[in-house]
């Protein structure tokens, strides 16, 4: 089976979630990966370890920004070029915007938030997360071509593959695909991206104000974690919107989620219920979040976090 995997890069590196997507694809068949814009060949080569046999690279500089229509055009062209039956991508805010178009171009079925490899014993069925992580659906895809967007952190990364050959791939992209002009980009540099992170430390209204975020950031730094927050915290502009976790924010699925001064409203839990382990620190022993936690500490964040940070530093040294 021929599989095409869409690679997203971040600061010149293949995203972890794209390596998960390649690993997923490699379990299904022969993987051709596709990378867009300026990326080093050496970096693209490393897709081989995750299971890609070949990487097609469209180096057109106009693709350095994640533009939806041109990306969809390139993906569909590459799928036609390689004869791919299955197109795999990580679910991300960019991929979400792109793959609907790709599926419509190819007449392919599309399933998002996939959490399992397909069951092909009777047709082609995958398990996907629904109701913001509160349930799963088993979905059969009924067309020849299929597009799968894989939930982040749902797939173990394969590391034992070989080298991937990198080939230039040319697509003629009409100017009218570039009708949307990007006038500015604001991006936190060097930070660990929240949706990609293995560990997330999140703060809620219990932290009282943005000036107190140091305790969250220190802990995150020690753990190599990304920082997140509850909705009121981003509504009040204590933290940027892209850190807001929950039903109406980012859905995370890290191995460890540490919630500090967050009550655990059901809308917040919806964004974190796929985490492998949850630690809750709250001064109120009745906080609903404890019911969703694996480990809990009842205490004042401003006393507990510095102590925890020191203990972690010692343990990780």
């Amino acid at each position: 089976m021929s599989v095409l995997v869409f690679i997203e890069t971040e600061e010149g590196k293949i995203k972890k979630s794209s390596r998960e997507a390649i690993s997923y694809g490699a379990a299904l068949g022969e993987v051709t990966a596709l990378a867009l814009g300026t990326v080093g060949t050496e970096e693209l080569n490393t897709a081989g370890a995750n299971g890609a046999t070949k990487v097609l690279h469209v180096s057109d500089e106009r693709l350095n920004a994640g533009l939806i229509q041109p990306y969809a055009e390139v993906l569909a062209s590459a799928a036609n070029h390689t004869g791919a039956e299955i197109i795999v991508t990580a679910k991300s805010s960019l991929a979400d915007a792109v793959v609907g178009r790709v599926a419509a171009k190819l007449g392919a079925s599309l399933v998002s938030n996939v959490v399992s490899l397909p069951d092909t014993s009777n047709g082609f069925q995958v398990k996907r997360s629904i109701y913001t992580g509160k349930a799963f659906a088993n979905v059969s895809l009924t067309t020849d071509k299929k597009v799968l967007a894989i939930k982040k952190n749902a797939v173990e990364i394969k590391q034992d593959g070989g080298n991937a050959g990198v080939e230039a791939f040319d697509v003629n992209l009409e100017d009218n695909l570039f009708g949307a002009k990007i006038t500015s980009t604001e991006k936190a540099e060097g930070d660990i991206l929240l949706p990609e992170a293995d560990i997330v430390v999140s703060g809620g209204r219990g932290l009282k104000g943005p000036e107190n975020w140091g305790v969250i950031e220190d802990l995150a730094k020690t753990l190599g974690a990304a920082t997140g927050c509850s909705k009121p915290v981003s509504d009040m502009d204590w933290r940027p919107h892209h850190e807001h976790v929950g039903q109406t924010g980012v859905k995370v699925s890290p191995t460890l989620y540490i919630a500090v001064g967050i009550s655990g409203a059901i809308q917040h839990l919806a964004g974190v219920n796929s985490s492998k382990y949850i630690v809750v620190i709250n001064k109120d022993e009745e906080a609903p979040f404890f019911k969703a936690a694996d480990y809990g500490i009842v205490g004042d964040a401003f006393e507990v976090l510095p102590k925890l940070n020191e203990a972690l530093k010692k343990a990780l040294a």
């Binding site: 915007a97 609907g100 419509a104 599309l110 349930a135 059969s140 480990y295 500490i297 925890l308």
Partner: protein, 245 residues
């Protein structure tokens, strides 16, 4: 300005999710349904844009008759008329096809949707509709300003945001803080009763996928509490029991 807003009819965000009929159907028992929260942002922004520029707002839902109270709420919030495509929204391609068919005839300057529905969280319908109509599509859109036939958009990207300049018409999947959710007032609720809600039958019944069953995640084990004076114990549990650090 002629705006189409596509809304979903979904369980309230506090709903307990359960299934019946051998786990093949969603259990609606005791569940309150609402306009999808992201769709509600799209609608709120549409109402503001209409206040600024004049024009008309049409809301569209692909769903069965039980969607009607949700659609009436959208009319009460400020939409002028509604269309319901009378069909179970079985998969995203099916839904996109219905929306595209309606939009083709409607001459809309703007098609607003939510970034994603909160039942299936696909976040896919806006892109499909854009492609089916040959229009640009953008998502997730956090800000939207219109000036004549051009628009300024802020789109969230992982770890930040970008600003774009685009030309109408296009499709946008909206999210906060594009506008504040609007609560219908008494006048809105009264006038919603007499606004048109047109029910039409689906044009094309093609689907690309079908759901065979639903599952709930395994129940979470009990929480282990650690004393605040003994944070070393938590570190030990994370390291040696959970093995996550």
């Amino acid at each position: 300005m002629n705006i189409l807003v596509c809304i979903t009819h979904v369980p309230d965000t506090t709903s307990r999710i359960a299934f019946t009929n051998n786990d093949t159907e969603f259990d609606k028992n005791g569940v309150q349904f609402i306009i999808g929260p992201y769709d509600d942002y799209a609608l709120a922004r549409a109402v503001e844009l209409k206040e600024q520029n004049g024009g008309k707002i049409t809301v569209l839902n692909v769903g069965e008759a039980d969607s009607d109270p949700t659609i009436r709420k959208a009319l009460a919030i400020g939409a002028d008329e509604a269309i319901r495509v009378n069909a179970f929204p079985s998969d995203s391609f099916f839904v996109a096809n219905q929306i595209a068919a309606i939009a083709k005839d409607g001459n809309y300057d703007l098609i607003l949707m939510g970034r994603e529905s909160i039942d299936f969280n696909g976040g896919m319908v806006h892109g499909m509709v854009g492609e089916l109509l040959g229009l640009p599509s953008f998502s997730p859109v956090m800000q939207l300003e219109i000036e004549g036939t051009s628009a300024k958009i802020t789109r969230e990207i992982e770890g930040g945001k970008e600003k774009l300049e685009v030309t109408l018409p296009f499709v946008a999947g909206c999210q906060e803080p594009i506008a504040e959710w609007k609560i219908p007032n008494m006048r809105g609720i009264m006038s919603a009763r007499s606004k048109p809600l047109n029910v039409v039958e689906p044009t094309d019944t093609t689907t690309h996928s079908e759901i065979s069953s639903y599952e709930l995640p395994p129940a979470k084990g009990a929480v282990k509490m650690v004393d605040a004076d003994n944070v070393e114990e938590l570190v030990d549990l994370l390291k040696n029991e959970a093995k996550v650090i």
